[in-house]
């Protein structure tokens, strides 16, 4: 079991705080009323780019596809000088070595989805070896999925132990724990799964695989941010957050940043503590940046699709 568990009193997860559905959705919609203009908008858009885990998770992924995506990660839109890179490339374990080589020492991380992604329906030893394979190939970050079936059966210790075991297998790689909130359905369960993941050693908690609808939403992300805040209040330990899937427009990304800022504060406003799991968001942000720079609405023709 991971070291951290010795210093934290493990709570009874069946007593995790309840979430009022309507209340949390009202609060989430309130963030969307903030009007982000001018320089704030440009800064927010650049920060968004820098927080993206540029993702390709397809059965048909090839070395070629991954290499092109890595190039994009480093050269988002060279016509616009001074843009940041994305935070990471997110791929299957088999693509880690390709991505690692393509990204070199650029600082862009390689994240691998492991543990029988996306269903997680495999024995623990398979998940551990999946994880170790990715780490051995150079993955900086591991995106694991929790066993939703076990969670819904109420087997919280099973879920907890599994996360702790994967954390151990990660070594120095940071662990993102995907709750797959679309399968948990209620905010009460999202909150409970967040608590289990954090106490079991997650470095990040992450909403979704992107393979289940609904994926990330603002209220579900808010529930998780509030879980992170409570964990921080109780332990002093910061946990990072990654909403994934369904965030493809820059306006929505800015709403997420407002939510992050007003829920967790400025310490979290960087890509060490917050990521967007997305594939098409980057281009929309780029188009908005160009629009801000030129004052002219943009066409997709001018932005590379990778």
């Amino acid at each position: 079991m991971a070291v951290i568990n010795q210093t934290l009193a493990i709570p009874d997860f069946s007593l995790s705080p309840r979430i009022d559905h309507v209340g949390v959705e009202e609060r989430a919609s309130r963030f969307t009323k903030r009007s982000i203009k001018a320089e704030t908008k440009v800064n927010g858009l650049k920060l968004t780019l820098n927080m993206i885990d540029l993702t390709t998770l397809e059965g048909k992924d090839t070395n070629g596809k991954v290499k092109q995506l890595c190039y994009k990660a480093l050269h988002l839109h060279d016509a616009y000088p001074g843009l940041p890179t994305v935070a990471a490339i997110c791929v299957y374990p088999s693509m880690v070595s390709v991505a690692k080589k393509a990204l070199g020492n650029s600082g862009v991380k390689v994240a691998a989805v492991a543990t029988a992604f996306p269903s997680g329906q495999a024995p623990r030893r398979v998940k551990i070896s999946d994880t170790k394979f990715a780490v051995d190939n150079g993955a900086d970050e591991i995106d694991m999925v929790i066993s939703r079936g076990k969670f819904l059966e109420g087997e919280y210790s099973f879920v907890f132990d599994e996360i702790a075991a994967i954390k151990e297998a990660c070594g120095n790689a940071r662990l993102k724990v995907i709750l797959e909130t679309g399968e948990l359905v209620t905010y009460d369960k999202v909150r409970r799964a967040s608590d289990i993941a954090m106490y079991a050693g997650a470095d990040f908690i992450k909403t979704s695989t992107g393979k289940v609808s609904p994926a990330a939403t603002m209220p579900v992300t808010l529930v998780m941010l509030e879980a992170i805040r409570d964990f921080y209040y109780k332990t002093g330990k910061m946990i990072a957050m990654k909403p994934a899937g369904g965030i493809s427009k820059s306006k929505l990304a800015l709403h997420y940043l407002v939510m992050l800022q007003e829920t967790l504060g400025e310490a979290w406003m960087n890509n060490h503590w917050f990521r967007f799991g997305a594939s098409s968001l980057a281009n929309d942000v780029l188009m908005q940046l160009e629009k801000e720079r030129t004052g002219v609405y943009q066409s997709a023709n001018y932005f590379s699709i990778d």
């Binding site: 009022d20 559905h21 309507v22 209340g23 359905v185 209620t186 905010y187």
Partner: protein, 296 residues
């Protein structure tokens, strides 16, 4: 063989389930049209009223918290007791100027009126409540609740039916009350207090004083722990006084002047209950998750 000496009844007031004499020690002797003295009746004071309000306030939580069905049974029990003592009320009404025929009719009507309101106890909430279809994701409903302690100057032109007609809807709705009986015809009020006292009505729910409205109206209207006041006469000066004093604590002032309490059509309705009810509206969020719909 000597003739038996009749035992005369002492007419006392009714506060908190007890029958004390007035703390003031004062009394008055109302007379009937034949000039005969009816009895020595307590001339209640401001302090008697204060004590009665205290008793009514103490009783309010319990009475308003009773199941409506239970209140209905207790009101029905009052009617049963009244039926059992019908002869005594007829006697008193006759003593207070009524013909035997009218007296019997008034007592019958009084019994029926209590039954009428007994029936409403567990029904008026259903009729006057609403579920409100608000636009947001909330369940929202409004229900009537009793306003609290009600002070009542009973109709002065009747001894029983007026008294019963103003007490029954007030307590049917869960309020408690302090009632000042008809000054000139107070006998039935005291006897009715005895009926109430033997009808499972908790002490303090109904408190009955005898005395002069001219002395007591002011206190009935100004007491800060009284939530509503009922007045049944056409006297404009008194109505004005009541409204002015009611402003001290935003008391609800309710006037029933011009009601013929013997007219069954006009003098009984659930609106006599709702006059001393507050509407309470409660909101609660509705969790509407996922895509589940109640389609079938």
């Amino acid at each position: 063989m000597s003739t038996r000496v009749e035992v005369l009844k002492t007419y006392k007031i009714y506060i908190g389930g007890q029958f004390p004499r007035t703390e003031s020690g004062r009394y008055y002797s109302p007379k009937n049209k034949r000039g005969e003295s009816l009895a020595n009746v307590c001339l209640s004071s401001r302090k008697d009223f204060r004590d009665a309000v205290g008793a009514a306030r103490n009783a309010f939580g319990g009475w308003s918290g009773r199941a409506a069905f239970n209140r209905a049974q207790i009101l029905y029990r009052i009617a049963e007791m009244l039926e059992g003592r019908k002869a005594q009320f007829i006697d008193e009404l006759v003593k207070q100027n009524a013909s035997a025929k009218d007296a019997e009719r008034e007592v019958n009507l009084s019994i029926d009126r209590i039954i009428y309101y007994a029936g409403w106890c567990d029904k008026f909430q259903q009729v006057f409540s609403s579920v409100n279809p608000v636009a947001s994701s909330h369940f929202n409903f409004s229900v009537p609740e009793p306003t609290g302690v009600v002070s009542i100057i009973a109709p002065q032109n009747s001894s029983l039916i007026g008294l019963v007609s103003v007490i029954a809807p007030i307590i049917a709705g869960g309020n408690t009350c302090v009632v000042l009986a008809s000054e000139d015809q107070p006998l039935c009020a005291v006897t009715f207090a005895e009926v109430i006292n033997s009808s499972d009505v908790p002490g303090g729910v109904v408190n009955i004083l005898t005395g002069k409205p001219s002395e007591l109206i002011k206190y009935f209207a100004e007491h800060m722990d009284v939530n509503a006041i009922i007045y049944c006469e056409k006297d404009d000066a008194n109505k004005k006084l009541i409204q002015e004093k009611s402003a001290l604590n935003v008391k609800r002032a309710i006037f029933y002047d011009g009601v013929n309490w013997l007219d069954e059509e006009k003098s009984q309705s659930p609106y006599f209950i709702t006059d001393t009810q507050e509407i309470k509206t409660t909101w609660h969020p509705i969790e509407t998750v996922g895509s589940a719909k109640a389609g079938y």
